[in-house]
């Protein structure tokens, strides 16, 4: 099935006529773009092997989060609740969570902790060793009836009850302020809740040029290098290089000044060799050294991706960000993929190719972008009731924290000096890769901040990439599909 260039305006008559003598064909050039990484934030994600220690506990991370976010929430809460009186009693701020008194209306600030009965618990696993129940793998671990929401700070925890708190989108690790009073059973009955809301945003520098500029967000390529590699992947790379479709498509592609490959570019399918090995018996199996058989290493995904990226880097600047299946560390924040894995593309390192961490902050032509490989959003998805990914992304911005479930359920490095996931600034564009489908919206903050949220879908499943216009923040989807494959 040949690919059809549907957006071309080539006239069939033109194609079937004789070539003209002095024909001039327009060549489109990509303009050079200034695209930088915001080192102020990205440096905090970088973990040098020589400086990493695991002697500290995760309590430091929670302490840092609370210390930084507590004043911000307190400010919002004070503006909302100072001077308010409920039942002729003036509400006041209480410094420590355990200092609430029964019958007094007060507000407290702390980190939310949700005790979930269905959440996989290491202690349950140990007890299960003695029983034969199979573990039930679930998509979601939230159980609204049985989950207990608590507020925690350095003094202790208090249980939050009330209908207000049940209807809010909360995960373990976000810092909130709650207004209410203590009940007779020692729980805190919540009347109102406040979040830090969107952090201040730098104004966007609008350039005066008339040409459009796009940044292309690609996610979930899952290049495998097999014979059965999807044709859509090569179509995508040809499109980005301007080789696909008619002159309209080329022109559109030339307006893409930057490509961000966000997560899961390498497929983790095992090579066919290892599958045959399973049928051999013990004597015939190859001896494993250090626990793995090095001859069963499948280098095809790396080589295939290398070739594709090298071609692409010659044409447009590319940033590659790791995802949860990529060959870099698993815990969040993920370190940049080592360029030694892509030797042909490595030649472009320093000019048009760059390997970045996950998450990452960019500044492309004055537009501030925060991107993740999707792990924090996927993790939040597991612990709340709803399905709306954009709502979760918006909540992250309103909590001023891009990965609140770290380190509780999202593996993270035990940071000791600063929590790098705290958002001190709201980006103009916030995207999360490897999402199940494309969704986008613009949210507006209290001080007029405007953020474009984009959930970038997995390319291997949907064949879609997202182009975001740097001037207007409009987003469009380009779909690559073969006719007749039903996508």
């Amino acid at each position: 099935m040949a690919p059809v260039a549907s957006s071309s305006t080539l006239d069939p008559e033109y194609l079937l006529s004789d070539p003209k003598e002095d024909e001039a064909f327009p060549t489109f050039e990509r303009r050079a773009s200034s695209r930088e990484l915001i080192s102020k934030y990205n440096d905090e994600f970088a973990l040098k092997n020589t400086e990493k220690t695991y002697e500290q506990q995760y309590a430091s991370l929670y302490f840092l989060r609370l210390t930084v976010l507590k004043p911000r929430v307190s400010k919002v809460a004070a503006e909302a609740w100072n001077g308010m009186s409920i039942l002729n009693q003036e509400v006041k701020a209480v410094d420590r969570v355990l200092d609430v008194r029964q019958g007094e209306f007060c507000w407290i600030v702390g980190t939310v902790y949700i005790e979930m009965t269905l959440k996989p618990n290491i202690l349950d696993e140990i007890t299960k060793e003695f029983w034969t129940t199979a573990p039930i793998s679930k998509d979601k671990f939230a159980d609204a009836a049985n989950d207990a929401i608590m507020l925690e700070d350095e003094s202790g925890r208090v249980n939050l009850v009330g209908s207000t708190i049940k209807s809010e989108l909360l995960v373990t690790g976000c810092v909130v302020a709650v207004l209410g009073s203590e009940t007779t059973s020692g729980d805190f009955d919540v009347v109102d809740i406040r979040f830090p809301q969107l952090a201040p945003q730098l104004p966007r520098k609008m350039s005066t040029g008339h040409e459009r500029k796009y940044v292309a967000l690609v996610s979930g390529l899952e290049v495998s290098g097999d014979v059965h590699e999807s044709y859509e992947t090569s179509m995508l790379f040809e499109y980005l290089m301007g080789e696909l479709g008619g002159s309209d498509d080329s022109k559109h592609a030339s307006e893409i000044i930057h490509v961000i490959v966000a997560g899961n570019s390498f497929s983790n399918r095992r090579s066919p060799v290892s599958r045959d090995e399973e049928s051999l018996d013990n004597s015939q199996r190859k001896k494993k050294k250090y626990g793995y058989d090095s001859s069963s290493y499948n280098s095809k995904p790396t080589e295939a991706l290398d070739i594709l990226l090298a071609d692409l880097s010659a044409s447009v600047s590319v940033d590659i960000m790791p995802g949860d299946q990529d060959p870099t560390n698993y815990s969040y924040p993920q370190q940049p993929i080592n360029a030694a894995l892509v030797p042909r593309t490595r030649r472009f390192l320093g000019s048009s190719f760059r390997s970045v961490s996950n998450p990452c902050w960019w500044d492309i032509e004055g537009l501030r972008i925060l991107g993740t490989g999707g792990q924090p959003i996927d993790d939040i998805f597991k612990y709340i009731e709803g399905d709306d990914r954009l709502q979760m992304m918006e909540a992250c911005l309103r909590w001023q924290h891009c990965a609140p479930t770290a380190p509780d359920t999202l593996w993270s490095y035990p940071f000791r000096d600063c929590d790098p996931f705290i958002l001190n600034e709201t980006p103009h564009l916030f995207f999360a890769g490897n999402q199940p489908e494309f969704k986008t919206k613009i949210i507006v903050g209290e001080d007029g901040q405007q953020v474009r949220l984009v959930a970038v879908p997995k390319f291997s499943e949907t064949g879609k990439i997202v182009l975001v216009d740097l001037e207007s923040l409009a987003s469009e989807v380009v779909t690559f599909a073969l006719n007749g494959t039903g996508r």
């Binding site: 309590a59 430091s60 840092l64 350095e154 000096d417």
Partner: protein, 204 residues
């Protein structure tokens, strides 16, 4: 006539503390003089042999008195707080102290008997309702450091040295006490495990 002359037991200690005064940072010397003013209750003439470098431009003599007055008032407020809250050292810090303190290259030997440690520690203990038990053999310096470890406001202590914790608290703007800093940057404070590491070192 140094204020220390009244309290020190030997003249050699006196000389050491005088020599030390030369190399301290300006602001710390201000506080030292201020606190010693507080202790002796009479205004001192700055010793000409020790006031080698004049105080920073923003620090006029009237500021000095103000600082000491403020220090006296706010440090007296500790009784309303629990032990775990930091002592309200609301001493006004100069603008250049907002940045992370840089350790001086020369490491001072630690004077375990320095009376200001005793004075500082007694202030922090005002919130206690009972005398501490089993603490006869423990030096004041160690008690100050343990008290610093137990102050919840500066965060968890496990897995880092006291100096790292102090720097983290300063970076967060929590204003950790300078007395503790002075102990930690001394020669013993950097080399001895007992002083350098938290009280749970080796146990967790």
């Amino acid at each position: 006539m140094a204020p220390q002359a009244k309290r020190s037991r030997s003249t050699s200690t006196n000389k050491k503390s005088l020599a030390k005064q030369v190399r301290l940072t300006d602001s710390f010397r201000q506080k030292k003089i201020a606190s010693s003013q507080n202790v002796t209750g009479k205004k001192l003439q700055p010793q000409s042999s020790t006031e080698v470098v004049p105080p920073a431009a923003s620090h006029t003599p009237s500021d000095e008195v103000e600082d000491s007055a403020r220090e006296i008032e706010t440090e007296g407020e500790v009784e309303s707080q629990e032990l775990s809250a930091p002592p309200e050292e609301d001493v006004q810090r100069e603008a250049d102290e907002q940045v992370v303190s840089v350790e001086p290259e020369v490491e001072e030997p630690l004077d375990y008997d320095d009376p200001q440690y005793r004075a500082y520690f007694d202030k922090t203990q005002k919130v206690n309702i009972a005398a501490p038990i089993h603490q006869q053999g423990v030096s004041t310096v160690l008690r100050i450091l343990k008290n610093f470890d137990l102050t919840a406001a500066y965060g968890p202590t496990v897995g880092m040295t006291r100096l790292q914790r102090w720097h983290r608290a300063e970076k967060m703007g929590l204003k950790p006490p300078e007395v503790v800093y002075k102990i930690l940057i001394s020669k013993e404070g950097k080399s001895m495990d007992e002083l350098r590491e938290g009280y749970l070192y080796g146990q967790i």
